[in-house]
Point group: C2
Chain length 418, copies 2
C-alpha cells in the first residue's frame, strides 16, 4: 500500500472511531482506561523485549547516551505509565459540561456544551511514555488518537499500541480509538498533516526542528510551543533573599525542562548587591553564569552573554544574566527575546506587579514564585497533554478540558427569523 | 520595496501597535471608535469618489452585476458601517475579565484572565464594509488589525483605511492599530501568511477557493468556515405545520447566506404527507426542488438530486430533498455530506431530540427552529466577526470574546518547587 492510501485509511478509521468514543460516558471510558492499565502491567515482558530491540538498534546506529536513556522503558517508567492512566481515571469528565446558556427574548434556549474535538494526531520524538499518556488523555476527553513517535522507538510503540488496541477490543470497542502509525517513513506524516477533513488537531511534542516541520506541512490546526526561554526579573524593590531562592529553584531544580529559567534580568539598582551573592550560591551547584557588559562590570571574570544567549534555551546548568534599567527595559527584553512561555517578576511593589502581569504577553506570568510551577499538575489541571505558547484555543498548560471544544445547542418551539 | 520587506514592515508595525491597543481601557477604545464613526460620516464624499473609481474599473474589467453590487458603497451602506461601529461601542469590553481562579494548597493564587490575541489578519473579498466592521471589532477586543480586501475594492479600502488611521492619529494613538494592505499583488498575502511570529490569527472571509488558498499557504493559525450546507431533518413525530414554516423560513428568508437551508431530509413515514404540501408552499415562492429517487416516487416530475447536490451550497432558491429511514440515516447523511455549520431537527420526541443534539457534530445543532438563527446577533453576542466550522478556539458565530485569548496569572509569596 502506498503512503497516501495508508494515511487516508488510518485517518478514516480514526474518524469513524471518534464517533464511538465521543458517545461513551465517563464510566465506560474509565473502564477501558483501567483495562489498559492492567493490560500494560500484564505485558511487562512483551514491552521489555520490544524495547530491547529498539535499544539494540539504537546502539548499533550510534545514538547518544541521552537519547538511549529517553528510549528506555525501565520497570519504574512502565509503572509510571500505568499510574498515569489511573490518574486520568480519577479526573472529572469534561464532556457534556454546559459552558454557558441563555434564553433569548424570542424564547430560544441557547447553550454551549463541551464536546470532544474528534480526531487528534500527536507527533513526538522517542519517549515511549508519550504513547500511553497521550492515548489516555485523548480517550478520557472523548477523542480518537493517532500516535506517531520517533522511528527509534517504533518497536516499543507498536507493542504499546497493540496492548491499548487489545484493551479496547476486550471492552468491545473500536480498536481504532487509539492507533499507532506503523510506518516510520516521514512521508506518511506529511500525508496525514494534509487530511484536514479527517483530523481536527495536531499536537507536536519535541524539539523546535520537529515542531517547525509539522507547522510548515500541516493544513490541520497545530497547538504547540517551540521552546521555553523563561525569564525572572529581579526588580528594585525585590526581597533579595526571596529572589535568590526563586532564581536558584527556577534554574537548578530541573534544568532540562521548558519551564526552567534561562535568562535572569536584574535591576541596575540592586545588581551590585545581588549578583555576587547569586554567584556564590549558583557556582557551587555547577551553574555557569554568562553576563552582559554591565553584569561583567560587577563580576569581571564571567563569560560574556550576547544576542545568541538571549535567544537560547540552554536546557542545562547555564544562566545568562542581564542588568536592566527598570521595568520598561525588562519588559522590552522579555518581549523581544522571550518565547511567551513563563516569565516572572520578583518585587514588593504593587503597581509594578500589576504592570508586569498586564504587559508581559506570555502564556504564564508570575510574581514572586519560581517559573517551575508552570505545569498542568501544579495549576490543578490534574494532567497535561502539553504546553501551548500559541494564542488560540489553549494557552499555557493544556489539560483534559483543552482536548475538548464546544457546540452551540439551540432549542426552539417553532421560531422563525423575521 | 520588495513584497517580502513590505509584508515584514506591515507586520512589524502591527506588532508594535498591538501593544498600544492592548493597554487601552474600554473608555479609550470607545472614544476612538466614535471618532472613527464621525470620521466616516464626514468623509462621505471622499469615500464616494474612491468607490466610483473602483466601480468604473470594475465595469471596464467586465465584472458581473452581482460583484459590482457588492463593491458599491451606497449612502445607506456607509450609514450601516457607521452604525456598526457605534454598536461595537455599546458592547462590553472582554479584556481583563477573569475566566477562573483558584488558590493552590501551597498558597499560589492562579487565575486565567482574558487578554487580546495581538495581531489579527483579515483576508476578504470585495465588500468594503468588512474593512470597517473588522477594524472596529478587532480594536474593541484590544487587537491590531491587518486588513486585506479584494483588489477590485482597493481604492475604496485605501480611503476607508486612511480615515481610520486619521481617527487613530487624532486620538494620539499609533495609526498602525488598523492597517489596510496597500499592495494588491497576491504575493504580499503569501508573505504575510508566513509571518507567524508577528501575526497571531488569520480570519479569511469569502468563497471556498479563497479560504483554501489561505489555509494552504499559512503557517499562522486560521479560523474559518469553508461553506454552510445546512440541513433540516423532519422526523416521524414532527409537527408538520411547524416543519413547513421552518423549512420555508430557512430556505427563503435569505437564501444567499451561509445559514440558509440547502438540503431537507424527510422521514419516510411522513414524506408522502409532507412533501406535496411543501411543494405547494415553496414552488410559488420560486424555489426549485430536487429530489432523491424516493422523493421522486412521491413527486415524480421533480428534477433528480444526486451526490453533487448533497455537496452543494446553492446560496440560491434551490432545495435538495432526500427521504431517509429514521434518525440514524439522517445523522449519517449530515455527517457525510454536511459542513458542520448548522443542522436542525423538527421533532416532538424528547429522546430523539437529545440523540440528534448529542450526535450531530456541527458547530450549531438546532431543534424546532429555523437554521437562519445561526448568527452572532441572534445568539446575543452583539456582533460577529465571522462563523467558524473549525473545532479549535471558536466554534459557530464569533463575537468579541472570540477575538481574545487568556493568560495564566500566578501570584506567589516566594514559593519554590520541591
Amino acid at each position: 500500500m502506498d503512503y497516501d492510501s495508508y494515511a487516508r485509511e488510518l485517518a478514516g478509521k480514526a474518524r469513524r472511531a471518534s464517533r464511538v468514543v465521543a458517545a461513551l460516558d465517563a464510566n465506560a471510558k474509565n473502564k477501558v482506561l483501567e483495562t489498559m492499565a492492567r493490560g500494560l502491567e500484564d505485558a511487562a515482558e512483551r514491552i521489555g523485549e520490544a524495547n530491547a530491540r529498539d535499544l539494540a538498534a539504537g546502539r548499533e546506529a550510534g545514538l547518544a547516551a541521552a537519547m538511549l536513556d529517553r528510549l528506555e522503558v525501565t520497570p519504574k517508567r512502565l509503572a509510571a505509565m500505568v499510574d498515569g492512566l489511573r490518574q486520568v481515571v480519577s479526573l472529572p469528565d469534561p464532556v457534556g459540561k454546559v459552558v454557558d446558556s441563555r434564553i433569548r427574548p424570542n424564547g430560544l434556549e441557547i447553550s454551549r456544551v463541551r464536546v470532544p474535538i474528534g480526531v487528534i494526531g500527536i507527533i513526538y520524538e522517542s519517549r515511549p511514555n508519550v504513547t500511553v499518556d497521550a492515548a489516555g488523555l485523548c480517550l478520557k476527553a472523548g477523542n480518537a488518537a493517532i500516535l506517531r513517535g520517533g522511528k527509534e522507538s517504533i518497536q516499543t510503540n507498536l507493542v504499546l499500541g497493540d496492548i491499548l488496541a487489545e484493551s479496547l477490543a476486550a471492552e468491545k470497542l473500536d480498536s481504532a480509538i487509539v492507533q499507532v502509525v506503523r510506518v516510520t517513513d516521514r512521508e506518511v506524516v506529511n500525508r496525514l498533516l494534509k487530511l484536514d477533513t479527517e483530523i481536527d488537531l495536531i499536537i507536536p511534542r519535541g524539539g523546535e526542528g520537529l515542531i517547525r516541520a509539522v507547522v510548515e506541512a500541516s493544513t490541520i490546526p497545530v497547538i504547540k510551543h517551540y521552546k521555553g526561554i523563561c525569564h525572572v526579573y529581579v526588580a528594585a524593590t525585590a526581597d533579595l533573599g526571596m529572589a535568590l531562592e526563586i532564581v536558584d529553584n527556577a534554574k537548578t531544580q530541573r534544568p532540562g525542562v521548558c519551564n526552567a529559567l534561562e535568562t535572569l534580568l536584574v535591576d541596575d539598582s540592586v545588581a551590585a548587591k545581588f549578583l555576587p551573592v547569586l554567584r556564590e550560591r549558583l557556582e557551587p551547584e555547577g551553574v555557569e553564569l554568562r553576563g552582559c557588559p554591565r553584569t561583567r562590570e560587577i563580576l569581571p571574570d564571567l563569560a560574556a552573554a550576547g544576542e545568541d544567549d538571549w535567544l537560547t534555551e540552554y536546557l542545562d546548568l547555564v544562566l545568562s544574566v542581564r542588568v536592566v534599567n527598570g521595568l520598561e527595559e525588562a519588559i522590552e527584553h522579555i518581549d523581544f527575546y522571550g518565547s511567551h512561555h513563563t516569565d516572572a517578576i520578583v518585587t514588593s511593589d504593587r503597581a509594578e506587579t500589576e504592570e508586569f502581569l498586564r504587559r508581559v504577553d506570555s502564556s504564564s506570568v508570575f510574581v514572586n514564585c519560581s517559573t517551575r510551577f508552570s505545569d498542568g499538575g501544579e495549576y490543578g489541571l490534574g494532567a497535561e497533554i502539553g504546553i501551548s505558547t500559541d494564542k488560540l484555543h489553549a494557552r499555557g498548560p493544556m489539560g483534559l478540558e483543552e482536548l475538548t471544544t464546544y457546540k452551540w445547542v439551540v432549542r426552539g418551539s417553532g421560531q422563525l427569523r423575521g
